[in-house]
C-alpha cells in the first residue's frame, strides 16, 4: 500500500517538470568541496548544450571557492545519478540523458578543497 489511509488515496507529485515553466532541475555536487554545504539545485533549459551549462551555470555556481579557478573541465570526471557519465559537450542536457531532478557529481582530480581538507 503506497500510503496508510482510510480509503483510496492518490496524490500528484508537486515537483513534476511541467511545473517549472519549461525549465528542468539539475542538482550538482562538487565532490571534496564541502565549503558548499550541500549540492546545488539548478534550474536549467533542457536544450542547453553541456558546454554552455559548464560556462553559464557550473562555473558561476562554484566560483566562490578558491579551487574554482583551477578546475580543468577537460579532465573533470562526471557521474550522472551515481553512474559514470561522459557528457557530449555539444549536445543538450536532456539529449545527454540528464533528466529532470538528475544529480550530477563533479570530480576534479588533484583539487581536494582548502589545504586538502575536502572543504
Amino acid at each position: 500500500m503506497p500510503v496508510t489511509a482510510i480509503g483510496t488515496y492518490t496524490a500528484q507529485p508537486l515537483d513534476r517538470q511541467a511545473n517549472f515553466h519549461g525549465a528542468q532541475l539539475v542538482y550538482l555536487c562538487w565532490e571534496n568541496h564541502l565549503l558548499f554545504c550541500a549540492p546545488f539545485t539548478l534550474p536549467v533549459d533542457p536544450a542547453q548544450p553541456f558546454a554552455a551549462f559548464i560556462e553559464q551555470v557550473v562555473k558561476p555556481a562554484i566560483a566562490l571557492h578558491p579551487d574554482a579557478a583551477r578546475v580543468d573541465f577537460t579532465v573533470a570526471r562526471w557521474r550522472l545519478d551515481e553512474q559514470p557519465f561522459s557528457p557530449d559537450l555539444a549536445c543538450g542536457l536532456a539529449a545527454n540523458g540528464i533528466a529532470h531532478k538528475s544529480l550530477l557529481h563533479l570530480h576534479t582530480p588533484g583539487l581536494e578543497g582548502l589545504g586538502g581538507s575536502h572543504n
Binding site: A11, A38, L42
Partner: protein, 504 residues
Amino acid sequence: MAAKRLNQKDKYRCLTRDLGWEPSYQSKDAIYPYERFEGIKITDWDKWEDPFRLTMDAYWKYQAEKEKKLYAIFDAFAQNNGHQNISDARYVNALKLFLSGVTPLEYQAYQGFARVGRHFGGAGARVACQMQAIDELRHVQTQVHAMSHYNKHFNGLHDFAHMHDRVWFLSVPKSFFEDARTAGPFEFLTAISFSFEYVLTNLLFVPFMSGAAFNGDMATVTFGFSAQSDEARHMTLGLEVIKFLLEQHEDNVPIVQRWIDKWFWRGYRLLTLVGMMMDYMLPNKVMSWAEAWEVYFEQAGGALFKDLERYGIRPPKYVEQTTIGKEHISHQAWSIFYQYSQATNFHTWIPTDEELDWLSAKYPDTFDRYYRPRYEHWRELQARGERFYNPTLPMLCQVCQIPLAFTEPDAPTQLSHRSLVHEGERYHFCSDGCCDIFAFEPEKYVQAWLPVHQILQGNCGGGDVEAVVRDYYNIAPGQDNFEYQGSPEQQRWQAVQGTERQAG
C-alpha cells in the same frame, strides 16, 4: 446516606471513565472511524492506565496557580529591562529559532491532540489527549508572552507564525509535525507522545532552558519551569501509549516498531537544529550536542529500549548512525545557516577563537580535521570584507527537507545521498532513514512542499531570492538577516551596553 463529597477515587472515575457511554443507535465503528485503518488492534480499552489520575477541575486549579506565578515574573522581567542582562545579543538568535521553529509546533501539538482525542474509543485516552491539547495551547501562549518582550528590542521576532509557514528551513519542523498530524491517531501518539515527548524531548527542552539559564534569560527559564510538570505528564503518557499498544495485541508489535524506527529518525534529524543552537548560538555553552546526545539518548534511551525488549521491540533502526553523526551534525548545520544567512530570520557568525577552541576540545575527532578549515577560510574572507554567502539554492531531502549537508556515516568527507524513482519521478534523500520512510508511503511524500522547488516554480513571489525573503517571508533584508557582526542589532546592543557601563 451518600457522602456529600466524593473521595479521590470516585471523583476520578466520575470525571474520566464515566464520561464515556455505550452507544445504542450508532455503531462504535461509525463513531470512531479512524480507530482501525492503521492495523492496530485494541481488545480492551479498560486496560488503559492513567498514571496521573488528574481530573479537569484539579487541572484548571493547578495550571492557574502556575500561570499566576509565571506572569508575575514576566512582568518583573519587562519592567526591569531583563533583556539587558543576557550574556550577549547573539543569544537572542537562539530565541528567534525557538519562536519560529518550536512554538508553532506546540500549536500543531495542540491541534493534533485535540483531534486524536476525539478519535479513541477509550475515555481514559480521550481525557489524557484533551489535557495534553490544553497544555500545548498554554505552552504556545506562554512562549509567545515570554518572548514578546524581546520583540521590542531585537529584530526578526515580529512575524513568527507567518515565517513558520513559509521560510525555507522552517519547513523542517513544520513538515515533521504535519507528517504526524496527517497520520492515523495511533501513529500520531507513537510519533509525538512516545518518540518525541518520551524519547527525545529532553534534547529539546533541557538545551533551550539550560541555555536560557546560562545566558541570563530569566523569562524563558521561568517558562521552562512552568512547562516542566506538563512535560513530565506528557512523557508518562508517551510511555503508557506504547506499553498499552504492545500489550493489547501481538500484531501491533511490528506496526509500532516501524513507527518507532520512522519517528526516531525524523526526530533525530529535526534535533539537528537544536544541536546547532547548543554548539554555536549560545554565548555561554551548557554542554556540547554530542554530550547531550550521550546523556539524554544513549544512556536514557538505552535503558528504555532494554525495558521494551520483553515486548519484542528493538532499538530504532539506524541508531548506530546517530552515534557517528553526533560528532558532525551541528557543524554541518551551522555551515548551512552561515552560508544561507541571507534567507534566515536570525543572524549567523563565525565562532570566536575561544569558541573554536571549545569546539576542538568537545569534538577532538572531527572538528579540527573536517570543520575548522572552512571557518578559518570564511573568517579570512570576512576580514577582507568578502563575507561568504552561497548564491545558489541547496538540494533538499524529500522527507526531512534539510539540505543534503550530512556526510556518509562511513565517509566523513562525502555527502550522504540516497535516491529512488517512483512512478517515473526521481526523489532524493539525505539518508537511509529518510529513504525508507519515503519508500513505505511514497504517496505521502511525493506531495512534499519543498521550499527550494516552490521558489523555482514561482510560487513564492517573483523575482530573485532577495524579493522572496523580503516580500514572501517578511524578513527585512539587512535588518533581520545576514551576518551578526556589524548588524543593526549588534550596534544597538553595544550602544545599550555602553550606556549601562557609563551609568554604572
